[in-house]
Amino acid sequence: MKFDTPAGANPIDRMAVVGRAHDRIDGPLKTTGRAPYAYEHHREAPNAAYGQVVGAAVAKGMVRSMDLDAARAAPGVLAIVTAADLGKLGFGQFGKGKFNTVKLLGGPAVDHYHQALAIVVAETFEQARAAANLVRIDYTRSQGRFDLDEALKTAPLTGGSSDEGSAAPGMDRVGDFEAAFAAAPVTLDARYTTPDHSHAMMEPFASIASWTGDALTLWTSNQMIAWGHGDLAKTLGMPKDKISFQSAYVGGGFGGKLFLRTDAVMAALGAKAAGRPVKVALPRPLIANNTTHRPATRQRIRIGATKDGTITAIAHESGSGDQPNGSPETAVNQTKLLYAGANRLTAMRLAVLDLPEGNAMRAPGEAPGMMALEVAMDEMAEKLGMDPVAFRVKNDTQVDPEKPTRRFSQRQLVRCLTEGADRFGWTRRNPKPAAVRDGRWLVGMGVASAFRNHINMASGARVRLDGRGVVTVETDMTDIGTGSYTIIAQTAAEMMGVPVDAVVVRLGNSAYPVSAGSGGQFGAANATAGVYAACVKLRDQVAQRLGYNSADVAFAGGKVTSGNRSADLAQAAAAGELVAQDKIEFGDLEKQWQLSTFGAHFVEVGVDAYTGATRLRRMLAVCAAGRIINPKSARSQVIGAMTMGVGSALMEELAVDPRFGLFVNHDLATYEVPVHADIPHQDVVFLDEADDKANPMKAKGVGELGLCGVGAAVANAIYNATGVRIRDYPITLDKHLEKLPAVA
């Protein structure tokens, strides 16, 4: 189905199932421990041996020699595979995936710390772990580049795309920024830093590989089946159709599992060498340096405005680093679209670093970009003597500021801000910082806009109807906690006129039609649109089978009705299963219209006047993101994103060791993320929307919108509480303690 004109009325508009809060259909399995994740396939891969990955102990250099004798002789060891063994194992064409910046098996060259250099396979996990510790590697260590500030001094302007809907050229200009900024009566020129972040999903990267002859089955944990499937074939140098790539349950990804990673590759190599299925989970201390991370940024924002608060000049520049041939963190993307202003400049610089590969993490680009932009807006509002909500409202735009003939398909940012302000009690905020005390607490409120683009992705599905009236959906879409199982069931139920429990959803398997996958908040809308397209075909087949005119057929209550004729849906499949397959494809509506999602975050914090510790007291998000398919799981996406935003504001930072070129805090004790005690009750409001320019579901996404701006809202609340502006995330107490108001 080609979606190239705005959606008219369609069966989803009925919203008998879609748009209603529904418990997750995978809930009973997940809450009872019965949902099988990547490492949990004892039945499908019995007698699996255990693989332990050996990571490089230097960040840059060469392997001079590897002594594997002791490891080989260790009890239970079945095989050891290094890069030197690829040819004799039959992987002479071993390479690198399209979506990987750095090879997933290093040696002799080492590209980054903890890059995989070997896998040790043994009968048991304990034996594999012990034997891996006996691998002795001598390195020639060479000078690496680990200092972002130093490297940015000579870094070139570099455009880039996150592959997730965030992109910007190296430099983009509209009007004459410099002249307008120089002429503006009120200006801000401020620099902000955000650190490297780790996805820190709860399920480690894990895979089980099983060979039957030259065919490989892989159970893994991956957000994008088609990308992973293709890149595993490319990496191993074998045909895609010889690989079954499965990921039915994913224990969190946040962008870290968008790509093929070393667990999958090393499990496949280890299983080939051992002649047995092999299971591999990356040890938690290996994950931060072995896999990808959100790169640190150095940002500069300049805003010029007239005295009435009209922005006349806005510039956002960002620098980040990555491995050779890597990409910039697209932190300036949102500044191209979020606020009006005739004279504009965005620019990105990319430095080459020898730290681990930087890549997409939830809301790549916008998450760190909004952490800077929305603080700059707060600072500018203060300079203007304006309320931060009013300043944002004043600079709203209903058109793309760079191409004013192009309108937003829908843009309710102003309503998000004003309705949020009403609900939150924003008028109680004292605009004078450090003016509100509650016992030992300095209390402040902060606001930030939320913004992220929606992008269209082709997405396919197959739908089956059997003689019992059961509808089965098959698509390679994944559920990474986003609620895909449930919203796909709701979509099929709505289209076929059956209850949700008459729908079976099968996901995450390369045998199923290729879907949008899970990333960039594009999964829910596109994957359900693909299911919609397949269901439209199935409805036609049902009508034909029943001899009805498909133009006037209605599907409801398990029945198919046409005029005064009616039949049970199951009857259409009485003579045999009906199977329909289609995909949603897109025309150029997204070129004609800017498809984006909007929101507003409101935060109240208390900062301990004695210790400087920050505690969240209240949080509210108001979101406008098209039709919300399942308000229950969508709300959870947003509160989860808000929680991650609190982490980025207050605690999350991969600490770079500039001598040895690694992230030193590479586990869950030292890379701090929010815990229960950090997070208060969170409120989320979705504005009523349906975006007919987006897709037949009229839906967009919320999973990343919920993160964009939260960090800045927290930072702005801290400033309102303390009067101390910290522009260097995370805002840990040491950064403002000495400047806090005197304790009376």
């Binding site: 809930g27 009973p28 949902a35 002791a70 006996l134 224990g251 946040f254 040895f660």
Partner: protein, 217 residues
């Protein structure tokens, strides 16, 4: 002497610094490139305990954690391995009704113990009240930390009922209450990166028989 006081020198810097080439072990960094000792086969040890009311006898490598005994030997994979280092809580199980991180405990230490895992609390057709409350309040997303959260949540309410104190009580000598802050404090060893905390608090409050009362920071 001056060298020994040089604050810029670290142990690791001494080991690897100064030379153009350095010799370090793969994992972990070792003090010197000593030849590794040849490993000998580990003697196996028997252990017997009950899991979810069922008696289980295993003969295990004594290095096997309770977590891996459950997951890899008994195929009870509901108990999750998130970090294997006692940092995340995904592996929480109940031993004689008290929660522990099963990754920090060797299986052979549990001779005679009664262990309850997530599979023992309820089944998809017959959910434990805490499991049902997690479903109702959407107290999970990816589901990977969820079994640990639920085991912890069940144990936390029992701890509060038994009067086990925590540092967020106004009076540690008094009886703890199932307040929002009390539950959040006690649950803080169970990380949820999807960020379902607000919903988990509501699920627990429902089971505890109260509202998720807000206590201000």
């Amino acid at each position: 002497m001056a060298d020994r006081l040089d604050p810029t020198l670290s142990r690791r810097g001494v080991l690897t610094g100064g030379a153009a080439t350095a010799v370090v072990a793969a994992t972990p960094a070792a003090a010197a490139p000593l030849p590794p000792r040849p490993a000998k086969a580990t003697p196996m040890m028997p252990v017997r305990f009950t899991v979810n009311g069922e008696s289980r006898s295993l003969t295990l490598d004594p290095r096997t954690t309770l977590l891996d005994a459950l997951r890899e030997h008994l195929h009870l994979t509901g108990t999750k391995k998130g970090c294997d280092h006692g940092q995340c809580g995904a592996c929480t199980v109940l031993v004689h009704g008290v929660r522990i991180n099963s990754c920090l405990s060797l299986a052979v230490m549990h001779e005679g113990d009664a262990i309850t895992t997530i599979e023992g609390l309820g089944t998809p057709d017959k959910l434990h009240p805490m499991q049902a409350a997690f479903v109702k309040h959407d107290g999970y997303q990816c589901g990977y930390c969820t079994p640990g959260q639920i085991c912890s949540a069940v144990a936390v309410l029992d701890e509060i009922k038994r009067g086990v104190p925590s540092h967020v009580q106004a009076d540690v000598a008094g009886r703890p209450q199932a307040s929002n802050m009390e539950m959040r404090e006690r649950m803080s060893g169970n990380i949820c990166r999807c960020g379902a905390y607000s919903n988990i608090a509501e699920a627990m409050a429902e089971v505890a028989g109260g509202a998720a009362k807000e206590d201000r920071a």
